[in-house]
Symmetry: C2
């Protein structure tokens, strides 16, 4: 880590302080009602959940919470994209995840949150006080079981990411990343083979354990190899998805 790099890295922490608008939530009308942990609840459960949910808006670049903050809230992303960041004291950053509509936010803390959360785009969130949610579990065990399942899924995803960070080449990392986004897009009802990248290349670099230059070069190379095709500034097509999958060395 050079001096210059440290300066640049410190500059990463120039986000707008936390601030957000709020409103009561109507879960019945929620756009992601079928996607996340509230999926498949019966009417009464939805109504109860609605009672403790608070709808929030965060503008692009706003901090939702910091690493180490008391972890007394959990969230559901209903619109936009969020990044989860960890920082070393000297400013190196690791992004441990990107959240998209339907994703759950706030698990994985012991004392405080294990990571900070920042809005990549304008973001709509549905917020729950953790203690109220846990109270709800007493009569709605289904909800608790679902949350446990989400924690399990995240754990499996984290393990995959460790394999990527520990053992994959830059090209394999990019291929894996694009395929993962494509799969999530499909789960959310989008078409396969098209991915939308709301984040900038610096975010991708910090997620994949690379530098922006390597990300840019590798994307250029994948384009030259016709494995990906950029349609707009934030959208890519994956025309030869099987080859990409092979490149990613999917275990």
């Amino acid at each position: 880590m050079t001096t210059k790099a440290v300066e640049l890295a410190k500059a990463k922490v120039k986000l707008t302080p936390r601030r957000a608008s709020c409103a009561a939530q109507d879960c019945h009308a929620c756009e992601i009602r079928d996607l996340t942990f509230c999926a498949g609840l019966d009417e009464s459960e939805i109504a109860t959940l609605s009672g403790i949910a608070l709808r929030m808006h965060f503008a692009k670049r706003r901090v939702i919470f910091h690493e180490g903050d008391a972890a007394d809230m959990v969230y559901n992303v209903t619109q936009g994209a969020v990044r989860l960041c960890k920082l070393t004291p000297d400013g190196r950053r690791q992004i441990t995840g990107f959240l998209l509509p339907g994703d759950f936010l706030g698990l994985g803390g012991r004392q405080g949150y294990a990571y900070g959360a920042e809005a990549i785009t304008d973001v709509e969130l549905c917020r729950f006080r953790r203690d109220k949610l846990e109270k709800l579990f007493e009569n709605h065990r289904q909800l608790e079981r679902r949350l446990f399942k989400i924690a399990n899924d995240e754990l499996a995803i984290a393990q995959d990411q460790m394999l990527l960070l520990g053992r994959k080449t830059a090209k394999e990392r990019l291929a894996t990343f694009l395929l993962n986004l494509s799969e999530r897009e499909e789960l959310r009802g989008g078409q396969g083979g098209v991915v939308y990248l709301p984040m900038v290349q610096e975010d991708i670099a910090d997620y994949l354990g690379l530098t922006i230059e390597t990300v840019s070069r590798t994307i250029s190379q994948l384009k030259r190899d016709r494995l990906i095709h950029q349609t707009t500034s934030h959208e890519f097509e994956l025309p030869r998805i099987e080859e990409l999958r092979h490149l990613a060395e999917q275990t």
Copy 2:
């Protein structure tokens, strides 16, 4: 990845096939009763748990389960050390965790286990059928909550490991690793500043995303710097733990 490396890597998969001895379990007499998810249960709960627990033994190098196996069992490690492995098709390996007495095994699968588990030393395990354990949850919510907490802890640990793999230098990785083991040793009632390493350097390399040569060289360097001191073939002292902590860039 060179051809030679692939050959070597494939050789990693020369473990003895799964086989183990079993016996009924008496949780009252368990040596780690205060350490793990059964800690602090009342007599009746311990008795119930005892009823569905099966004590197992795995010899050194034996496979406990493979990545992708149906995840219908969970375990508690009571003696010995276990490694969790993920492999790429061409044989590169990432170890996603080491388990020691008191640690829980088997979370983090979607369909099957997200990783394989192998005995590093001779291992004693306490095995539970997942469905029976879940049945138990209905009347023992405490147990379920504790398991959820374990999943949360593992998630936080996984995030820390991502930061390590994505952004730390070799020296920082080793320092972090040794400190983590030291902390776990203390939790298990051992003294701080002394760590026991049951695994070989190849395992450490595959856990930290390095090669065996780099691990060996870095350990040599830490010894020269008098930050660690090797007492026996598997035991180290950390005489200047604060300096080591600084080196590890603890966030």
